[in-house]
Amino acid sequence: MSTPLPSAPTRTTRPPLRWSTFAAPVRFHALTGRLIPWLWLLTLGFAAAGLYIGFFVAPTDAVQKDAYRIIFIHVPAAWMSMLLYLAMAFWAVIGWAFNARMASMLARAIAPTGAMFTVLALWTGALWGRPTWGTYWVWDARLTSELILLFLYLGFLALVHAIEDVRRADRAGALLAAVGAINVPIIYFSVKWWNTLHQGATISLTAAPKMAQTMLTAMLLMTLACWAYAFAVVFMRARAIAVERERGADWVRELQQAGGRR
């Protein structure tokens, strides 16, 4: 038998990244724990820039005067409410299709933040509508479908908490989330498909925006701020859910040993 060739000294290598790497709660927990502080930094940075431009650089609107400045929180909140719903539905379905419990936990983590942005969109919209339209509310297609979005978020949360078996609850939630997803394009196209009091699209992916550049910049910066915020809070909640659900698991035990009660 020939002598084996000397082998290179083994070094500790991390296993290659795969799509499923962070499906493991322990790895999800570790990664998000490192990301959260940076996400908060981004949130504050974008918000500071966006609010500064929105209030001190962007000019007064010719028609709406300074009431229009609500736009810098209203539009980002509305966009987040729709985007987060799609993300929630996506992860819920992934959790169902691949029996990936971390994905289902992530969907549950997204729901309250999505609901919060929906409430904020409705609230800021009402306060903007009062001085400009003369009313806090109207049952037009955009406002009504956004209200329905809120009910869908709350319905999802109520449903998953009503079913005792956690994985069955996840699957039921996934079904509700998936079916409800049709509402998001309805909200988006509502101002095009129906005659609404809510104004039509000012920004599109294909045409030039019909809005002053500084206003647009401020709005986009605030959107990035809301996005970073959403990531931060959703990750915080997802980590909590992971520790709750996996209480007896080895990785949670090791967490305790490593970091005490923190």
Binding site: D66, T113, M116, T124, W128, V233, R237, R239, V252, R261
Partner: protein, 59 residues
């Protein structure tokens, strides 16, 4: 700069109630939400620790 004075800024051309009512609620919600999430995480870690403190039984 858009504002002649600090009071002009707060007044927002007469729309102060609506503008600050919007941003005030936004700030409030965006402070409460992460606080609740942090509390939830801490409670989860505590519950996990308490589980370990109990005398363990074989599954």
């Amino acid at each position: 700069m858009n504002w002649g004075s600090a009071s002009a800024f707060w007044e927002m051309g007469g729309y102060g109630l609506y503008v600050w009512g919007s941003y005030g609620v936004a700030l409030g919600l965006m402070l409460i939400e992460p606080a609740l999430a942090a509390l939830r995480y801490r409670a989860a870690r505590r519950a996990a620790a308490d589980l370990d403190d109990d005398p363990e039984t074989d599954a």
